[in-house]
């Protein structure tokens, strides 16, 4: 087995909430990077990172957009950390109906952090680059794959699985066979 299959790259943005000054440069830079054309417009409400800020409570937590969820969670926890109360929402990256974070404000479509992956790759995601106080830092490291771990599935596989679930494996095979016949001239 070659090395690239034996290990995988983990990319993480580490958040130190004690260092966050609440400046929201990360939101600005994220929205600029993901604008089309790139950098053509600024709009923090389109950012895939948001600073949950509450000056009264001295709460500053940058969170990154994760997966879309169609419903709110049932019952949120309140965490007390170093004497301050935080709602579970302060740490949650879900694009969910209970708040307007991580939802494209015009279309309502969910937004998700993609670590600014691009070709050629950035040295660091844009939010980390503009964080002047190292509240956000970027780390990248290799870990060994679990032997049982399946290699990541491609888009075709995921799509086929959905079709099989809906129409049954036979119908899908039949269609695939039909599609693979050469077109009549």
């Amino acid at each position: 087995m070659n090395a690239s299959l034996a290990t995988k790259t983990i990319k993480e943005i580490l958040v130190d909430i004690d260092k966050c000054t609440g400046c929201r440069a990360c939101e600005m830079a994220c929205s600029a990077f993901h604008a089309i054309p790139r950098y053509s417009s600024i709009n923090p409400s389109k950012a895939r990172i948001r600073v949950v800020a509450d000056e009264i409570n001295d709460e500053y937590v940058p969170i990154r957009a994760g997966d879309y969820t169609p419903s709110e969670c049932n019952g949120r926890h309140i965490y007390t950390i170093a004497g301050k109360q935080y709602s579970e929402c302060s740490f949650c990256g879900a694009s969910c109906p209970s708040r307007d974070y991580f939802v494209e404000p015009d279309s309502g479509l969910p937004l998700k952090c993609d670590m600014c992956e691009t070709v050629p790759p950035l040295a660091e995601p844009m939010c980390v680059q503009v964080c002047g106080d190292d509240a956000l830092t970027y780390v990248e490291y290799e870990v060994e794959r679990d032997a049982k771990e399946q290699p990541a599935r491609g888009e075709v596989e995921i799509g086929l699985e959905a079709l099989v679930k809906k129409y049954g494996v036979e119908a899908v095979l039949k269609s695939a066979a039909q599609l693979s016949k050469p077109a009549k001239s």
Binding site: A32, I42, S45, E55, I56, G132
Partner: protein, 643 residues
């Protein structure tokens, strides 16, 4: 498409309850940029010079800067302008934070407020939804408390709120407009209160477009790194615990007494402990990598934030220590009063009591200790109760109302506005001109690009100018290289330096850039992020204008001349251009007036301090000259008199 700007104003009439979204002309931004520049144009056009500041016709304008909501770092200071009842001149005020960029994302470059509501209201702006709402339930609430209430009420933590406290509600002249832990002083809180506008809550989710995106973003990234890592940017006082500068050199009490060897190592250790035992964190403003604001939770008090000299004013006015400022500052911030002017007003009142001009009977129920007295007078003033009703008009007007010799105690105001408590020995010519003629009212808003003091050796001066990127012209390097003693600069050099210092503030206050990375900060170290050599490019990339260094310099001069003319129309003349008589111990009236005349001539002003037609026309302000002539403020032949 408009770039960097939204192209719309929000026009609010509180008397009629009307709300209009009005498209603006792009040429306005080319001529006046935005912020204070465009607001000055509106005040000139729309508020007749005889308008009483308490009239419904006085405009209160909240402006974004031209570079707000672009990637340009540290462009976040919201500008507030109106006519001030304290000075009867144009109020100039700024606050940092998040309000301006949020307003732009809501789709507006500024909010222009006229009229007066019948009772307290607040303005809610959520993109295209704009409402004037009942705010009677917020009556008496503190400034950050109001912000907190509105966020809960509107169920939106991302709403940005600017609010007045009790001081503004009661039309106290020192009232501020507060946003988070930042506040706008110098005459705007009182007008907001007079208009019965408790707060503005704004939320915006719209795009702001950039003309040349990739270039501007890459340049902004470089500037972000420069600001983050340079000691020449930001408020060093946020971290530097050695504050001997203010305590040994500024005056205590009612700007009376210098204590030259006040600072000590033991004191510094004690104060540092007080700070770090009670500091939650340091915070920053929108899109700025600096963290200038110290946020303190003092036992039993509401959390508050301060920056710079704001941490010294109360205890220095009271001859006490830092713990007293920490005790009172949170209370004062909730009331919404200027932490520069208010302590001087209190110290002034206590001095009048001590000298028998005010009597014990003027202060019924006042505690005997200094701390208690400061809290008592703060409370009376913001409520306008008893003697507080007089003090709430500021030192200068209070002194006139009290009479009986109280006028002599009004020794530290210019144009009826409280100045920093600085009392020095020998005159500094540049500072003389800045304090005398600066219409931003506080020296911190006028000084700043050219160093305050020369460096001792030629080698040090050479090293300084070699890395001095901010100079708009090589001549400033020569001035600095040959500068040995404070007062040894020629009048010509002095005029040049004053003009440069001023110009940078006029640009910052129109683009929204913070003085701590630009106009104010260059005097300490010279290594600022923004200057005449990169601002034209930044403005061009953001807006698509073809901005050059010459054009931008001219724009700064245009705004400066317009502000002067606005105030000339309200009566400002040469006789008002005077620093406090005791600002320096050694004075020379003949020399000073000679210098002032030279400066007027240099600026293209008449000997009475009014811009000439020739000068106004050269700045594309012919319409201003027409008006000044029509009113007889400029005589048709006056330019020859000036020459």
């Amino acid at each position: 498409m408009r770039y960097a700007e939204t192209g719309f104003d929000l026009e609010i009439d509180l008397s009629r309850g009307s709300i209009e979204k009005v498209a603006t002309d792009r040429k306005l931004a080319e001529m006046y940029l935005g912020g204070q520049g465009t607001a000055a144009k509106y005040l000139w056009d729309r508020v007749p010079p005889d308008t009483d500041p308490f009239s419904p016709d006085n405009l209160l304008i909240f402006s974004t800067g031209l570079l707000h909501a672009t990637p340009v770092p540290s462009a976040n200071r919201t500008c507030v302008n109106c006519f001030s009842p304290q000075t009867n001149l144009m109020s100039h005020s700024l606050f940092g934070g998040f309000f301006g960029p949020e307003l732009k994302h809501a789709g507006y470059d500024r909010i222009v407020i006229r009229g007066k509501a019948k009772d307290l209201v607040y303005l809610y702006i959520n993109n295209d939804k704009v409402e004037i709402r009942d705010a009677r339930h917020l009556r008496g609430k503190g400034t950050t408390e109001t912000g907190d209430c509105l966020k809960k009420e509107l169920k939106d933590q991302k709403v940005q709120v600017a609010a007045i406290g009790l001081a503004g509600e009661n039309r106290c002249y020192m009232a501020t407009i507060d946003h988070n832990h930042a506040s706008a002083a110098r005459g705007v809180g009182v007008v907001m209160g007079d208009k019965r506008l408790k707060a503005i809550a704004v939320r915006g989710t719209k795009d702001v477009n950039i003309a040349r995106p990739a270039e501007l973003f890459n340049l902004s990234l470089e500037l972000n790194r420069k600001i983050a890592t340079s000691d020449g940017c930001g408020d060093w006082m946020a971290d530097d615990e050695d504050d001997s500068f203010h305590h040994n050199h500024f005056s205590w009490g009612n700007a009376r007494k210098r204590i030259k060897n006040y600072w000590s190592k033991e004191l510094q250790e004690r104060w540092t402990r007080w700070k770090h035992d009670n500091m939650d964190r340091q915070t920053g403003c929108y899109n700025c990598p600096k963290k200038c604001r110290n946020v303190i939770s003092w036992p039993g008090r509401k959390r508050f934030g301060y920056k710079c000299f704001g941490k010294d004013t109360y205890h220095m006015a009271a001859f006490l220590e830092l713990d007293f400022t920490y005790e009172i500052l949170g209370v004062a911030q909730e009331y919404g009063v200027d932490s520069y002017a208010m302590p001087q007003v209190i110290a002034f009142a206590l001095e009048l009591l001590q000298d028998g001009i005010l009597k014990d009977s003027d202060f019924p129920g006042m505690p005997a200790d200094t701390k208690g007295r400061f809290f008592y007078l703060l409370d009376k003033t913001v409520r306008r109760e008893g003697i507080g009703d007089i003090l709430a008009d500021g030192v200068s007007r209070a002194a006139q109302r009290i009479g009986n010799g109280a006028e002599k105690y009004d020794h530290n105001t210019v144009k009826k506005f409280e100045q920093l408590p600085i009392k020095l020995g020998k005159l500094n010519p540049a500072f003389f001109l800045m304090i005398a003629t600066g219409e931003k009212m506080s020296i911190t808003q006028i000084e700043g690009s050219f160093p305050q003091d020369p460096l001792p050796t030629p080698e040090q001066r050479r090293a300084f100018v070699d890395k001095w990127a901010a100079v708009p012209d090589e001549k400033f390097k020569n001035y600095f290289l040959n500068w040995e003693k404070r007062d040894s600069l020629t009048p010509e050099a002095t005029c040049d330096i004053v003009e440069w210092n001023e110009a940078m503030h006029y640009l910052d206050d129109s683009t929204g850039i913070c003085g701590f990375v630009s106009s104010f900060r260059g005097q300490f170290g010279g290594d600022v992020a923004y200057h005449m050599n990169n601002l034209p490019q930044l403005v061009s990339l953001a807006t698509g204008f073809d901005m050059s260094k010459d054009k931008l310099w001219k724009t700064a001069q245009r705004i400066r001349a317009l502000v002067r003319a606005i105030n000339n129309r309200r009566g400002l003349r040469r006789r008002h251009d005077r620093p406090p008589e005791d600002h320096w111990a050694i004075r020379n009236e003949e020399y000073e007036q000679g210098l002032l005349s030279k400066y007027y001539a240099f600026k293209g002003w008449t000997m009475d301090g009014v811009p000439t037609r020739e000068k106004l026309e050269s700045l594309d302000l012919g319409y201003v000259a027409d008006d000044l002539e029509q009113r007889g403020i400029l005589k048709k032949s006056e330019e020859e008199v000036a020459a």
